[in-house]
Symmetry: C2
């Protein structure tokens, strides 16, 4: 079989471990040099393909690629840029194929969430229509854990570990202060429509370390009176209360409680601010002295507290993507299948992209306690193994040492300039 | 010499390592059983002494006390409660002595910041006036690092490590997203009047990992136009900009930029919200898409990322406090003296409380760069060793395992009930 080049790009919000997937792709490709020539990365994601701004990952040392395993965020740059339907955006898809053809790209690895899975599928379709031989493989990634088919998403386990740890630590702090000061602590977490991260906050509380905790899921319409009753009861019983709230908390009408007002390129509202809003509400209605935290990017970039399971799975989906491509796969995604809970065992399976693209997997109702403010044993059994194990980065002078790649550009081959 | 009991209490905002000081006090006292009988802790700080709500630390196993070294926050509860002048609050000071007399307390260890140092000094003075033999030793603690005489405060090094790590990680995230999305990231940090924590954010940026960073110190009056010019220049040059802002940022008139409006028991305003305010300002004036985070309690409770140096020093001041008491010290505080920067060496020295009480040590101007938005090499040389080394807690099922003590109450000896 002819040797062809590969293209890899990172898409959407980055995670603490997406670079581990990049390492999985690149290191595996390097072990198959007879089949895969160069691995080019898109500078700032798919935009790099459209503008023919490719990065030659071959210029990076083995040590630098290895260091991606412990470096957060997107080493080649990501982007929020959504391609529309095949007919609507035909010129753009054709441009991608033009660039791929110019650089003899035979393998397209796209590392992202459900929007990206859709783009990956469409790239595969347009290539086929145009008679351009291409194998398009989606590499799953999203802190929101809302991808279909896969049991969990690389990126989620580390955020889960971060928010649960942070809430546990903050709860110890509040408990210390509650006698004369702070009685309420509110932590706002990510997860627009799906409450997976909110559920992970619930893991802060366990049999060894009970914490009076109230969770506000995006799947459960906010009921002010019922919520305040929960908080009030917990403060009365324990002297303090902790609240984990999803940025996407909505009222019964479906309206977001807090919206910054701006929208991203996908048309999603940019959220933030429901944490302080909830804290203020408790202060006004219950008189509770409060503190609040909004972790924002800190939660998804916290490579220092990554889950070992998550790092391993992130690498594994990158490696599997290359192996699937070499085995002839196209329009597929390596998904994680859970074999057993205790002890946790998992394997990689091949999922057709059509079943993943644009589908949003919400938190099942039976993961949420009947009253709507906590998690069930079923949720705990699901979440626990994903957060398990530590995989700290190397430290230098007290700080994590993360790698920055050289990101050397591939010489352009196309004369035409393409406007993004 | 007669064997007498000891009283230990935690005061004010807790830290990731104040319990390591408690361990230092208790373990050292246990090694001197011929001189120190029981170690009683105040439940919720000094309030526990006034209400005769004492905890018998002798009921805790050696393993539990050892576990305090890796457990954040105040294991016995803290409080925000300030005693006023000796004459003004004479009845309250006399009540303390009454309780101490009832329980044969000969040693008073008070673990707090500069307000607490003042209280500790006054307790020593009233005991002397009343002819009650007592040795009052202050054990330094504060994330703000604003205590006088001591080179640095236990608690600060860990917050410094946390905010620098968090900013570095977030900067990697923003750099990934900047092409099409977030161009500005704002992290709000603690430090009401002193910019030590803000300066620590500056450590995220170093020769290995340059980051376009702008710092807003509480010591430097906010100049909107000059600040926006800084941010604008960095976004133009690097595609993105990170901002570390102190909760206590003030304008030229000395007014706080953001104030929650409530005040704590010391009359300090409860702050929070300058981070989003600064982010919004940049959006409105520069059009920069932004994200912001307010770490709040997360930064001071983050035992999972504690500095090893800080843990060791926290333990050491606890141990030294007991040793100073046994050597006859009174109205003193074990302070940390820096012997050398590179390699870092430090020792404990005895500081008279009168030189510590109520003095606030601000960030020296020569730690701040000339333009007011960064840190100098002098600041780096000071900060680096304090953040150095990792001291992770034990993990169980993916989460830090922190200890909760039994906190068994000591039977009351006084009939009279005292109203706080």
């Amino acid at each position: 079989m002819a040797r062809r080049n590969a293209f890899y790009a990172q898409s959407g919000g980055v995670t603490a471990v997406i670079n581990a997937s990049a390492a999985g792709v690149i290191e595996t490709a390097r072990r198959h040099r007879t089949r895969i020539g160069k691995v080019y990365a898109g500078r700032n994601g798919i935009i790099g393909a459209r503008t023919e701004d490719l990065i030659d990952t071959g210029k990076e040392s083995p040590a630098a690629i290895r260091a991606l395993k412990h470096t957060p965020a997107g080493a080649f740059g990501s982007c929020r840029y959504k391609l529309k339907g095949l007919e609507e955006s035909r010129a753009q898809y054709e441009r991608l194929i033009e660039v791929f053809r110019a650089h003899d790209i035979g393998y397209f690895f796209y590392n992202g969430g459900n929007d990206s899975a859709d783009t990956c599928l469409k790239v595969s379709q347009i290539a086929e229509k145009l008679g351009y031989p291409l194998q398009a493989i989606h590499v799953p990634k999203t802190v929101d854990n809302d991808l279909a088919v896969t049991d969990n998403c690389p990126g989620f386990g580390s955020v889960a570990k971060y928010v649960a740890t942070s809430m546990r630590e903050a709860a110890f702090d509040v408990a210390s202060m509650a006698k004369t000061s702070t009685k309420l602590f509110v932590l706002e977490v990510m997860g627009r429509h799906a409450g997976w991260i909110t559920a992970a906050v619930g893991m802060a509380d366990d049999a060894d370390t009970p914490i009076p905790l109230v969770l506000l899921f995006p799947e459960i319409a906010f009921d002010e009176a019922a919520f305040l009753a929960q908080v009030d009861a917990k403060i009365r019983a324990h002297g303090y209360c902790c609240v984990g709230v999803s940025e996407g908390l909505s009222n019964a009408g479906g309206g977001l409680l807090a919206e910054a007002g701006t929208k991203d390129a996908f048309g999603h509202a940019q959220l933030g601010g429901v944490g302080p809003l909830i804290a203020k509400l408790c202060k006004d209605r219950l008189g509770a002295k409060y503190h609040w935290a909004v972790a924002d990017y800190l939660q998804r970039a916290a490579r220092h507290l990554a889950s070992k399971t998550d790092v391993e799975q992130s690498y594994a989906v990158g490696r599997a993507a290359v192996e699937m491509a070499l085995a002839g796969g196209n329009a597929v995604m390596p998904a994680i299948a859970r074999v057993a809970d205790r002890p946790y065992r998992w394997k990689i399976v091949e999922a057709p992209l059509a079943s993943v693209a644009n589908v949003e997997k919400k938190l099942p109702r039976d993961f949420i306690s009947r009253d709507g403010y906590g998690i069930t044993q079923k949720a705990r059994a699901y979440l626990a193994p994903l957060m398990k194990g530590e995989a700290p980065p190397p430290y230098k002078d007290g700080l994590p040492r993360y790698v920055r790649l050289k990101n050397v550009a591939v010489p352009r081959k196309l004369a035409s300039d393409f406007k993004v």
